[in-house]
């Protein structure tokens, strides 16, 4: 199980914090979560249980089999599952990011080509966090298709290619096409993936201008991309960006935890890390 990218983790965290109303005032334990996921009468209870098991990083031997079962139900419902199966499936895929879900490999790969684009998007993140290299070819072919209008899906797919670490010619060729994209978050995601796969500083040159975007949303996304790479030469860009410190700290966490690009600056891992911690202390 990989940790997932900070940017992906951020958006996931946003999604995961939206606890359904069923949870209000009623803390539950693992047994109760498993019971709720297994029952079929109350869809909201199942939805909450899936979220809970991921959030709590459940290691119970029944957790994965029950989550897999929920995905199998979704997949057997065909192209247009009912809304309850669909939303449960989305939460199951999100939960799996936090778990060792290698036993659900087949289900995740099937969701990757689901008719529903939200399911494809979540499955892409789950496949990347699980390190499912079989998904690389599927994602490349989807990114090479004609219809590329779903920005969130494309970002998730591009990010996944970077996280999966396969730097083959086909992947690079697919990604390079997006490095000049006019949509800033898609351009940023592809530059992030290229930096992850090649560590070539030429893919970092656009980041300062991306960070000058007038859109707060874009600046946040770009910061999280730099954090996902751990790009040490970006330390000052991140620290000085006109964005809230919370996001800068998330980005800098990435630099401290997996520093990259510092060798040409003559720095050791340890020196790079200490420099980042110092910058983080200033932003608290």
């Amino acid at each position: 199980m990989l940790q997932g990218s900070p940017r992906g983790a951020f958006f996931l965290a946003m999604a995961m914090t939206q606890e359904p109303l069923a949870s209000e005032g009623m803390p539950i334990d693992e047994e109760e979560a498993l019971r709720r996921l297994e029952q079929r009468d109350d869809a909201a209870d199942r939805y909450y249980a899936a979220w809970w098991l991921g959030h709590e990083r459940s290691l119970h031997p029944r957790t994965l089999p029950l989550l897999r079962k929920a995905l199998q139900e979704l997949l057997s419902a065909g192209e247009e599952p009912d809304e309850d199966s669909r939303t449960l499936g989305l939460n199951v895929l999100r939960a799996m990011v936090h778990l060792d879900s290698s036993s659900a490999r087949e289900e995740i790969l099937s969701c990757l080509i689901h008719h529903d684009s939200n399911i494809r998007e979540e499955a892409t993140r789950t496949a990347a966090s699980e390190g499912l290299l079989e998904s690389v070819a599927v994602i490349c072919s989807q990114l090479n298709a004609d219809d590329l209008t779903n920005d969130r899906l494309i970002e998730a797919q591009i990010e996944a290619l970077g996280d999966l670490g396969d730097a083959s010619a086909a992947v690079i060729e697919t990604l390079v096409r997006f490095t000049g994209d006019l949509r800033p978050l898609i351009r940023s995601a592809s530059l992030r993936a290229m930096l992850l796969l090649t560590a070539d500083a030429k893919w970092a040159t656009d980041f300062p201008s991306l960070l000058q975007s007038s859109s707060t949303l874009v600046r946040r996304g770009v910061l999280l991309d730099l954090g996902a790479v751990g790009w040490i030469p970006a330390l000052d860009w991140i620290s000085q960006s006109p964005t809230e410190n919370s996001i800068k700290l998330i980005a800098l966490r990435g630099l401290a935890e997996h520093p990259r690009g510092h060798e040409p600056l003559g720095m050791t891992d340890e020196q790079a890390c200490q420099m980042v911690l110092q910058a983080m202390d200033q932003l608290l």
């Binding site: 966490r253 911690l277 983080m280």
Partner: protein, 209 residues
């Protein structure tokens, strides 16, 4: 410090601003007044959910120094935790010990992680005042709250507590419980690597690894 009429004019310019650029300019001018009467307006601007703008207002509050702290304390916005975070950061930076109770309360009970993070920073930074016994007791309260904060659900709050414990312990007597809290953050119970890194750095600097 500028006169009352210049202050009134600067405040009116902030109110009259219609674009983000105008607002930034007017706020910077208000900051340059260096006047206690600017505090309510600076605190209002801090709540506009614009980080660059809030940064200007924040620096203005900090520049006013300890005299500004009581007004900031009185005006902590209970509805807007983004604004509260900036105010608490200003209190942390000003470092006047009158903020002690508010910072402890914020670290232990505020719903906003960014508020708790800033409160933790402040507790490592306060200039404590009084007799030796009073200072020691205030310091104990800071250490106690920070120890508690090292178990916060948010990594960034735990991180901030580690940084502040290092700061507090480097300027006075060691507290066994605080060293224990830092050691715990370097271990397997801490899921977030950067918190482990920060706690290790604190212990190394304190030569207590």
């Amino acid at each position: 410090m500028t006169s009352g009429s210049e202050l009134a004019q600067a405040i009116a310019s902030v109110d009259a601003a219609t674009t983000s650029a105008e607002l930034m300019q007017a706020t910077a001018a208000l900051v340059r007044c260096k006047h206690m009467g600017a505090i309510p307006k600076l605190l209002e601007v801090i709540g506009f959910n614009n980080p660059a703008l809030a940064g200007i207002a924040f620096s203005g509050l900090v520049a006013l120094g300890p005299e500004a702290a009581p007004q900031i304390l009185d005006r902590l916005d209970p509805q807007n935790y983004g604004a509260r975070a900036w105010s608490v950061r200003a209190l942390a930076e000003i470092a006047d010990s009158c903020a002690l109770d508010a910072l402890i309360e914020a670290l232990c009970n505020d719903i906003g992680p960014s508020v708790r993070r800033a409160a933790a920073k402040g507790l490592g930074n306060l200039r404590l005042r009084g007799t030796a016994m009073e200072i020691s007791s205030q310091r104990q309260r800071c250490v106690h709250a920070l120890n508690h904060g090292t178990h916060d659900s948010e990594w960034v709050v735990r991180y901030s507590c580690c940084a502040s414990l290092e700061r507090l312990l480097s300027t006075g007597a060691f507290e066994d419980q605080a060293i224990q809290s830092l050691r715990e953050r370097t271990g397997r119970t801490e899921r977030v690597k950067v918190v482990r890194l920060r706690a290790s750095k604190a212990l190394q600097r304190l030569k207590a690894g």
